[in-house]
């Protein structure tokens, strides 16, 4: 980051009042390919945001940026008032490394398309591992919380099953419970039903729907399930070529989109 950019950020700090995530002019490029292009995004606590858009539009990358799995080429990201890749020194932003990102991403959880459960651990161990070694809970309390959460996602009978002994839908519910265990303020869902057989999609969406309606956690969902997005999102963002082409409440964006890009995309989805 050049000096001028540091100065500019300092002079023009993004508004972080009451946001759990703020992306300010975030760009990420791999060589010549710009994947996310000067993106500005603010998510309020408890807000549910759905990101839709054609494949390759940068949706997943936005989530990976939000949890610090990718480092932006330019711009800044704030999580719950803390910079992901910068530290503030005497009012000036200075680039920081993985250590800062580690701290900053603590309030964020992520559920992956491919579940990414630990295959050599049982469902319960998948939850107790971070509870004991990240939150420093005692073994008994961790077990208690893990059991409780797995019951909440309908897996009370599968506590000691390993991932390979469970269906994709069950594995994804374990993954959701694992993220919830750390009580994040912001949960990211990255096309969490894309890898599932069609008959298993419903049970996973039901768990997320219930979470959306009963918790005050903020959520960002990348999804192709348009009706699901319409149901739970407060705001829908349409992404194309790494830029926001349209955003607003689902009743408008999904029913009467103004952008021709959105209209085209929704038509393509509905014709599937």
């Amino acid at each position: 980051m050049g000096d001028s950019e540091v100065a500019e950020l300092a002079a023009n700090p993004p508004s972080t009042v009451d946001t759990v995530l703020t992306m300010h002019d975030v760009t990420i490029a791999y060589g010549e390919r710009v994947v996310v292009d000067s993106l500005n995004l603010a998510v309020k606590p408890a807000e549910k945001v759905a990101i839709i858009g054609p494949s390759g539009s940068g949706k997943t990358t936005v989530l990976r940026l939000a949890i610090g799995l990718e480092r932006p080429s330019a711009g800044s990201i704030l999580i719950d008032g803390r910079y992901m890749w910068h530290i503030e020194r005497a009012g000036v932003l200075v680039p920081a490394g993985e250590r800062q990102a580690r701290r900053a991403r603590r309030p964020v959880g992520m559920v992956f398309q491919q579940f990414n459960l630990f295959p050599h651990m049982t469902a319960r161990q998948n939850l107790t591992e971070p509870l004991i070694h990240v939150l420093s809970l005692g073994k008994e309390e961790a077990n208690h919380r893990a059991t409780d959460l797995l019951s909440r996602v309908g897996l009370a009978t599968h506590l000691d099953h390993r991932p390979a002994q469970m269906s994709g839908g069950q594995q994804q519910r374990v993954a959701i419970a694992r993220s919830l265990a750390l009580r994040p303020k912001l949960m990211l869902f990255d096309e969490v039903t894309s890898a599932l057989d069609p008959e298993l999609v419903g049970e996973v969406l039901q768990v997320i729907r219930e979470l959306a309606h009963t918790t005050s956690m903020a959520m960002i969902l990348v999804t192709h399930e348009i009706s699901f997005a319409a149901d739970i999102a407060d705001r829908v963002i349409v992404l194309d070529h790494g830029k926001i082409v349209e955003e607003g409440p689902p009743s408008i964006v999904l029913r009467e989109p103004r952008s021709p890009r959105t209209q085209q995309f929704l038509r393509a989805i509905l014709e599937r």
Binding site: I67, R102, M110, N116, L117, E129, V134
Partner: protein, 219 residues
Amino acid sequence: MTGFSWDWQFALQILPQLLQGLQFTLEATFFGSLLAFVLGLVWAVIRLAEVPIFSQAIRLVVEFLRGTPLLLQLYFLFYVFPNYGITIPALQTGIIGLGLYYSAYASEVYRAGIEGVPRGQWEASLVLGLPLRRMWGRVVVPQAMRFATPVLGNFVISMFKESAILSTITVLEVIGQANIIGAATARYIEPFTLAGLIFLAISYPASRVIRLVEARLSG
């Protein structure tokens, strides 16, 4: 026609001497494997960590160990090194030779095991905020070892058999003993047959055990 008929009494008589040789075979295999596994891990970690100069140097060493015959490496250790004042007893030379040679292959196995752990496993550990120690110790290494354990187990069996080559540097392991008996008595059929049976009696059950372990690990 003495050499062509099996003599049970002679066979029984030479068995203790062959079993004495087995002791050296097992010693060479055990300490050779230990050395190979530890050194292999060191090579793998240095290469994966991409330490400048070190990593390239290790790569050269590994290429050398894999690209030249074990016999040549043993001859160097045993016949050339003493010219430079480094004299190591035969058995220890054998252990070092076997250990070094197999460490090159073991390092590739570790590397493949670690690189074979899916990226999603690293990312899940990272987003959950697992400490680095837990990420390696509880997520990466167990999954890498699932792949590496049966392969390394087969290395031990290979080394057990190939340790026969140590007879060429005067280690009196099983084959070395059989050779001596043959030369002294002009009867080769009993000592070499028994030597073969001794190897088989150990390597066959061992390979069954490894297959069981493999099945358990993948299950």
